[in-house]
Every structure is written in structure tokens, then in C-alpha cells.
Subunit: 235 residues, 2 copies
Amino acid sequence: MLFRQLFDAESSTYTYLLADPATREAVLIDPVLEQVERDLRLLTELGLKLTVVMETHVHADHITSAGLLRARTGAQVMASPRGAPCVDRQLVHGDQVRVGGLELRVLETPGHTDDSLSFLCDGRLFTGDALLVRGTGRTDFQNGDSGQLYDSITRELFTLPDATELYPGHDYAGFTASSVGEEKRHNPRLAGKSREDFITFMNERRIPPPRKLDVAVPANRACGLDPEPLSPSSA
Amino acid sequence: MLFRQLFDAESSTYTYLLADPATREAVLIDPVLEQVERDLRLLTELGLKLTVVMETHVHADHITSAGLLRARTGAQVMASPRGAPCVDRQLVHGDQVRVGGLELRVLETPGHTDDSLSFLCDGRLFTGDALLVRGTGRTDFQNGDSGQLYDSITRELFTLPDATELYPGHDYAGFTASSVGEEKRHNPRLAGKSREDFITFMNERRIPPPRKLDVAVPANRACGLDPEPLSPSSA
């Protein structure tokens, strides 16, 4: 598999490029609007054809480039039926997405948002904002639910093999990856913590809402193509 | 091999952790002072013993944590004889550094600075600031030399197999990695460019000196342990 992790420094968002080196078909997970030219150029340079864009959820902290990528490449956009209505294919638990010879398995991991998905491909797990390196997504907006997030992590993600490589949707401390076993042992919100502990911790956090919440959520429900958020003043 | 890429957002510096999963011995390449607690904690959590710290060169844009790491872990600090005099072992072209069962091969790749080294380990190439993703290090201070940098890249790095994974010392555009073949084909300063083209391009650039040049270079020549740069006001 051709694999590349990409970063948007402004929103600390990771985008992932996976491709089949034989067929040259590629998928982008969680691409960022401001990086669309970088990402299209990289696809061209690597001789790849973007066929699929997958969203882990409707993001509140950045705007997706999914709609623009679809317009420029013909790629199919995929996300949860609880997420953006603009997609070409709705993904539910257990679905398989084929990209050339690659198979991405869909795991529903709600709790950060009600539409949160994780994707598993060849020993690599893409967790969006459900599980971060030594952290988790927040649960205080977009139908977030701390108990549900705890269940998603402990009953879905933590039942995967310990060696599964974990690639988060964001990082703010300079980590690029982890593993399932590592987070089971060392994630301070989860290691040795009960469901109740987790809910209490999450509910007691007092953090300001994401700066882009009001702009990003409606824009992302339109796959980033809402004309308003695309203007320089609001993007 | 256990491998982890780490990022310091303030200086856009990548630090690399490589370890032998059998013996648990580990090496850090280009660790950053401000991240020393993160890195020590990660080593502890992963059950690793830091035995070696390698510097690609005397950095001008951040201060190394090599000296602190040596004091805290007993690790040996290694760099070029043209670099910091505080090291435990001086590395020259062709040297092999053993870390458990891992072997890191030393390549002298001067030009960004006169002490610049690259390290090769199991198909992964760590280039420091010699070769960056779609860029190169600058050559306008610390005995930098554009012609020498062109030679280092084209005669040393570009003679490695195309599939060699390339891990840079910095990135400012959200790239985490590339490959030798990719940079040969798509690095705008090098692909299809002569030595003369490269020298002309580098000499015509007008960019301000690194913000930390005056502080970082003397501090790094003392492995980051100079008391002055360690004070909060100047670090």
C-alpha cells in the first residue's frame, strides 16, 4: 500500500492518502479545504487517481475539501448516513470500501459526534476524533455522548489487535501515530478508568467551543461546497 | 523496528524515534529541547532504553535536548566532528551506529551546513536539513555551500534506491515523508536542474536569518546545555 500522512497546521488536522500501487487508485481520508491544491498536486505527482474521499465525521474545526475534490477528480464522497447529506455513498458498520486492491473496513464509533466512523485498512486504523494519541475527541456538541464514546473505544477500537497502528484525526502535541495496545495502556482518559470515570471527566471539562463550529458544520454538511464558507473572509 | 515520527510545531522540526523491539534499545534523531518531557515519557511508556542521540547537524532554528537526554538517561550523543564539540562519538561517512539490532549508516551530506549528516536505517533515510520534501535546506550561513549541497544530494542521497523512504528534519507544508524517487522526479529545486541552476537559485534567494540563529547555534554546540539558552526568556 502507498501510504502518506499529511498535516494541516492551522487546524492540526491529519489527512491520510492510501493508494494501491498496482492500479494507482487512491483514497483520501479527511482532506482539508485549504490544502486542496497541495493534495491534488501530490496525487498528480504520484501518478494516482483519486476514486474515493472518506470523512470520519462532520468536522467542526475545519472545512473539508471533499466536494471540491469530487468536482475536480470525479471521486466518490463517503460518510455516515448521520453525517453530511451531500455524499455519494453512506457507510455503515461493517461496510467494506474497495479502492483498487485495498479494502477499508468501516467501524461505527460514535460519541465524539453521532456520525463518527473509524476505518481499518491493512493493520492501520484511522480513528478521526474518536480516539486520539493519549486523548479523545470532545463530546460536548454535535450530539456528542461521553458514554457512547467510551463504548465505541472500549468495545470496538480496543478489541482490535494491540499492534494495530493508530492514526488520529488530529494531534496537538506532535504525535503522528500510536497503536491500539499503547492507547489501552497509556491513554490517561481510558487506561484503568471506568465508564463512569470517563463520563465524569468529560462532563467536567470546560473548554471553549471550536472557533469554526458555526461555519464549519454547515459547510461540511455541503461537502465544503457552501459558497459562503469558501469565500476568503470566512474560510 | 519500532518507529515513531514526532513533531515540534513551534520550529516545524521532526524528531525520530527508532528502537529495537527485542532489546528495547532506542535512538532519537534531532530531539528538541522543549519536547524533552514528552519524549522521555514516550520512551518510558514504550518500555524503551535510550542509548543513542544522533544529531544531523548543529541546528540554527531550535535547541537540541541531546545534553539533557544524556544527563537523564545516559545515552551517548553523536554527531559530525565538524559539529558540536560536546558529543560522545564523532561520526564520519560510512560509520555504522548500532542500537540493539538496528544499524544506522552515516552519510556525510554537507552543504546546508558543513557538518550535515544523513542516516540510513532499514530503508528509511533521515536527511536532516539537506533534503526536504520538495525543498532543501538553505545554504547562506554556518558554512553552507550550494554547490556542495547539490553534490551531497545528487551524488549521495539520489544514488540510493528510489523506494527509500525519506524523512526530513523539517516540513512547513504538512508533508511527513517522501521517497528518494519522488524527490528525484518532483523536487522543484533539483528535478531537471543542473548544479549551476541550483547554485543560482540558492544564491538569489533573499530570506531573513533564522530567528534563533544567535541563540541556537552556541547552545547546540553545547548539546543544548548552555545555561543561557535554557532560561525561559531565551529558549
